[in-house]
Amino acid sequence: MRIVRICLLFAVAFLQAEMLRAQEMTHLFGPEDAPRRLVIRSTTDTDVFAGVVEAFLAERPGVSVLYEQWGSNDLYGLTSKDCRSGEVGADVVISSGVHQMVKLVNDACAAKYQSALTRALPQALRWRDEVWGITREPAVIVYNRSGVPPADVPRTRFDLLDLLRPEDSPYAGKVATYDIEASGLGYLFAFMDSQEASTFGALLESLGRTGADATCCSAEIIEGVATGKYLLAYNVLGSYAEGLAREDDRIGIVLPQDYTLVLSRALMIPKQAGNMSDARAFLDFLLSQQGRTELRQALLIAPGLDGDSADAGEGISETALRPIGLSPSLLVALDRQKRDQFIRLWRGAFPGP
């Protein structure tokens, strides 16, 4: 009991830190006195996205980028508020909470834009020419290499269920996943899981029964796995995991073979954006060959998941990939009653703070 309480305290601390950071972390790229300034609000970590922004600025000496890093729920709330009040805020909004972005478009908050590059996107990665999917990031299972023997490494959700089934499972209390109330992305992954397969109910039950931990942020979860605080983490955003796994050989990554959700971070240009032309140029840059290369280097386009090659990363078959398309049906995820019910279901397994 004490352990749970301590864990919860940790979670609260992380949560507060995350929220604090979300509102404050800004970074200015490019010359301070540049005549044109592009304001990007994004859920992506600044250091992950820095390379992409710098590449964009390399050929545009008259432009600076003010990069604000936000949590997805806060970013959604702020953008929605700006949209209603007509206040000029961001020029570009990029969020992993694609359901929130779809909602913003449905609420007529986005500006239309079309170019040869946007038209080249698959239909599932654009909606109304107002929101576009710019990255390809799988939702993965992360494990601690020293704590999980190779034979135990779960390849599918069924494997994970099997690991948690025994009464004395060594993984009880050692599994982490996103707190879906704190993380828009976590909510989206869980919601898509619930739509995708019946495994979700069993998984939720297992996680709840074994006292799994729900926390807020990718970085904390992966850090926990590396240190051995957790042995397994479920539904972690692959781009972060891959980035850390490259520097830290304690971390192993699995793309679930029953199905792997693939997230495309959504980009939209608010209709009241102050610097529309640079916003559009930034979008075209991200979709261009050079931009994609930068995104690939930032691991935001996972190897084998950029749609062109059949080699779908780590032996995952093409049919097991479930891209989260930009479709109005994502509105269901944000429906207030649906959300309440879903969170109530979730809280049944993960009693919150």
Binding site: D129, D335, Q337, Q341
Partner: protein, 454 residues
Amino acid sequence: MSLTARVALAVGSLLLIGGVVVSLAAFAYGREAARETYDRLLVGAANAIAASITIVDGAPVVDLPMSAFELLALAPDDRIAYRVVGVNGETLTGYDDLALPDKRGRGDTSFFNASFFGEPARYAVVTRRFAERSLNGTVHVIVGQTLLARNALALDITRNVLFGLIISGTLLLLLAVLVVRSALKPLARIGEAFARRDPHDLTPMDTKVPREAAVMIQALNGFMARLDRQFSSMQNLISDTAHQLRTPVAALRAQADLAAEEADEDRRRAIVERIHRRSVSLGELLDQMLSRALVLHRSDSARREVVDLRDVALEVLESGDLQVLAPETDIQLDIGDLPVPVLADSPSLCEAAKNLLTNAVRYGRGPVRLGVSRDGETASLWVEDQGEGPPEAVQNSLGERFVRSAASDGKSAGLGLSIAKSVAEAFNGRLAFQKGQPSGSRVVLVFPLVEGVS
């Protein structure tokens, strides 16, 4: 303007007017079809949402089904508006500012139009009634969608119809031109055949042309046949005249020469007397030849009308020519009370009758009778005298132009009969020789009686 251009213009303007009408109809139909199609989507989604409402602890709970939104996402670029209104008018979920319309159609399903964040949209309202112990009332589900897909479908339907219309119209126009061209081809062929024809060739044209053009060809052929007959009768007249006149004129000249050289007064007077007789005879011959030419011409060109043969007989008798020719001869008229109508040309008949009468007076023996009679389906005009009638040889070779009996002695009985025969044949009749009643001989012109004319 050419026929082709006329037809093309007519068909073209027909297509244009039809095209405008059809386009308007197609657009109206397209809008209607799109409206119905997407209204069904709306109702389907609204029903799915309504069906997902359950009562939990006395409060309606909406478990928004993903399938409803996937249904609406069939219009891929349209924004979705929805709201579930509870029993007391409170919003259970969805967009709070979606208002229920004041006036709604009866029944559980109704539609209305309103804007959604500044964009026109179409809404469906579905009601679900609850009669539970804990909840009693009506829950409304409003589902709306913007109009992009509807408009696109309406436009698509219209465009498809227009596309078909343009293609079929063009084909129709081409076809019309082709049909007109091929229909008018016989005309060109006929024109070409005429152009190639020898100017003296008046033989009938080939009538193997379409029925419509055959009418024209037949008329042309009839015209040419008439032209041919007149042409040849003119030729005959000229050659006859030349032939007939040469001998008497030569004789006249010889007599005149004789007269010039004759010293004896008495004999010269006798010669002059002969010259005079010859000139009179020549004049008569000339008259007859001209009248024959006239008859031939008229029989082809004059209009046929109903003529009473009694009128013809009377006219011939009253013209008084015979009184001059033979004042001593007694001519009796024999006509009945009933009209004797035939289809012919009166002047031609008069000429023929006059010739017969003249022959009878001149070569036959009195008394001479001119009569008209009808017998069953035939009508007859006859001349009777107490002589022998024309010799057998003359009767047999009648109609050849230069026949003259020996008795005529340079006077032209043959031509008179020939004229009568031509006239008879021109009006579907014939010339016949019969025994006189009770004696003598009779020359008869027999024609078919015209029925139904009193």
